[in-house]
Symmetry: C2
Subunit: 339 residues, 2 copies
């Protein structure tokens, strides 16, 4: 069928290994032979079969990404497209392709990782989120398979990970709200088994604590990154006798959901309640009012993750490293000072 290395060898009157060496630019091949072989390759329209190559070299030049849970839902969130954008860009510049896979639930996700790793489909993996007891991480670690975690693992500290200082970031936003005069500040997290939720909750708590403000359970809400859950949170808030005057949301999308829900209830942001989010995605800029947000450098997280992974695969770079991408408050109208 397709032209192989043997065909080229034949026609060039050399051995297959010579052709192979020409392809890999082996130093000890003569200019003459090299030129001759290359010419034949050209003529015959030869192109190496990567599968065969991979089979013997045991490398694929692919890096895998497993999309968290509903490939479906989560993609809505610009976080994922941003980080993938970063990963793909960096990967491409390092001559790697990106293999995207997903499962419809946690089990399937785990299986997907196992399939990629043990099926030898990828040279390394980037994990886009970490749970409390993350079996995928344990598996990868045990197998000593190259991987990079975007986020932080609560179980293991000896991993390569790319993350923000989420505690500090949440602390910073909260503090800023406190400085603006707020005392009754609520926090709307994502699912609490996600490390990022907990870290930000911690930062929030810490800021309140340092300011001598009592941390109240009634001001803490566990959401789920969806509009519906934001709707419910707002319902709950409205039922409170002593409503918060400001809210820190885990996410711009959640912040937006809150703003919209409040709006429907006839409340105005920031007049009736200040709101701040995280990620500084397009949405924060475009919302009415624009949303105060923490820029966590998502794209950069993607490029850093890809770079760290590639280095790890190649054996240079670190065996373990915690790469922290700096964050930055972008203050906008949704978080006007408390009047």
């Amino acid at each position: 069928m397709a032209v192989t290395i043997v065909d080229v060898a034949h026609k060039a009157g050399v051995s297959p290994s010579t052709v192979s060496r020409v392809i890999s630019n082996d130093s000890r091949i003569s200019q003459k032979t090299s030129r001759k072989v290359r010419k034949i390759m050209e003529e015959l329209g030869y192109h190496p079969n990567m599968l065969a190559k991979s089979l013997v070299t045991k490398t694929t030049n692919n890096i895998g990404i497993v999309l968290p849970r509903p490939a479906d839902e989560l993609f809505q969130n610009q976080f994922f497209s941003e980080i993938i954008r970063g990963i793909v860009t960096k990967a491409a510049s390092g001559r790697y392709d990106v293999l995207l896979t997903t499962g419809t639930n946690e089990i399937e996700e785990e299986q997907a990782v196992e399939r990629l790793v043990r099926g030898r489909n990828v040279d390394g993996i980037i994990l886009l989120s970490s749970k409390k007891e993350d079996r995928t991480i344990s598996f990868l670690r045990e197998k000593k398979f190259p991987f990079v975690l975007v986020g932080r693992s609560e179980q293991y500290s000896d991993l390569i990970s790319v993350d923000n200082d989420n505690v500090q970031a949440a602390y910073d936003v909260t503090r800023r709200l406190i400085q603006a005069g707020h005392r009754k500040i609520a926090f709307v997290s994502g699912p609490l088994n996600l490390t990022v939720s907990k870290d930000r909750l911690d930062g929030y708590t810490k800021a309140l604590y340092e300011a001598g403000i009592a941390v109240q359970a009634q001001y803490q809400f566990e959401g789920s990154f969806t509009m519906e859950s934001s709707e419910e949170v707002v319902q709950d808030i409205l039922k409170l006798k002593d409503r918060p005057t400001a809210i820190v949301a885990i996410d711009d999308l959640v912040a937006f959901g809150l703003i919209r829900s409040f709006w429907r209830q006839g409340l105005r942001i920031p007049d009736d309640c200040s709101i701040a989010g995280f990620n500084n995605t397009l949405i924060s800029e475009m919302c009415l009012p624009p949303i105060a947000s923490v820029d966590i450098g998502i794209y950069q997280m993607g490029t850093s993750a890809a770079q760290a992974l590639i280095q790890r695969i190649k054996g240079d770079g670190f065996e373990q490293a915690r790469i922290i991408i700096p964050h930055q408050l972008i203050w906008r109208e949704s978080a006007g000072a408390h009047s």
Copy 2:
């Protein structure tokens, strides 16, 4: 190293071929042997090496996506994350993974496709955009390699493609604006070598024509999907003696860019100018004011493309087909009636 089919065969006291047959659920294997072999596989923690399998079966269960030009820029646009979301979801349900690749320019893109195809890395390809003289399409077509085009090809009509009726969609928006009383309607396209730009321009023109409105060159602008280019377009519009009262933008992002630029110049939307976009992405809902937009069913385009490709790979389904995803006008504040 890792446990292979031979190890399993040995331990089970059968031949490798038998194990292979067990794996592929070959009908003519006895229940007994099958059970025995499966048990050993379990014990040994056997997992098939997909590369080896792929090498002989010549299928990978991967489908490739080549990100148009700057993986970088284009991802900004929610169109791409949406469509990839659709593709990945559908692919996963058909037991396919998605291989993402990109190039920094047109040449590299072409090479990327060639690399994937000839390197046997993927079973099929989804193309996310088509240019006027698209060499990638010619290459794929000539090679008879399974692929699906998202969009429309001007050169070939005998392809499998998933598209909207962009002419009709643009016609519909424009007509709606005309019905609202507008006579001076501008059109801001993307690069005109993109088929989608041309199709929408055609629809726009057709609507004007039918309404007996002169089509004026000064009302047609070629943008490039970026904020900067929207800024420039607004500058140009403001220079016109006879400014348009409404604008059809190729895209929500462009619409948003226009709105923002107008805003900065002290003009208000829709009072000073009505604006409508395409895609109905989150941004259109969240913008101030909310942007009237054509919902083109991006996610569905993704799932349809993946489905069509998988069918084509498997040999069922069509050799050629033009799948049209319906569109729908979502009228919002940015396109208030002309007063």
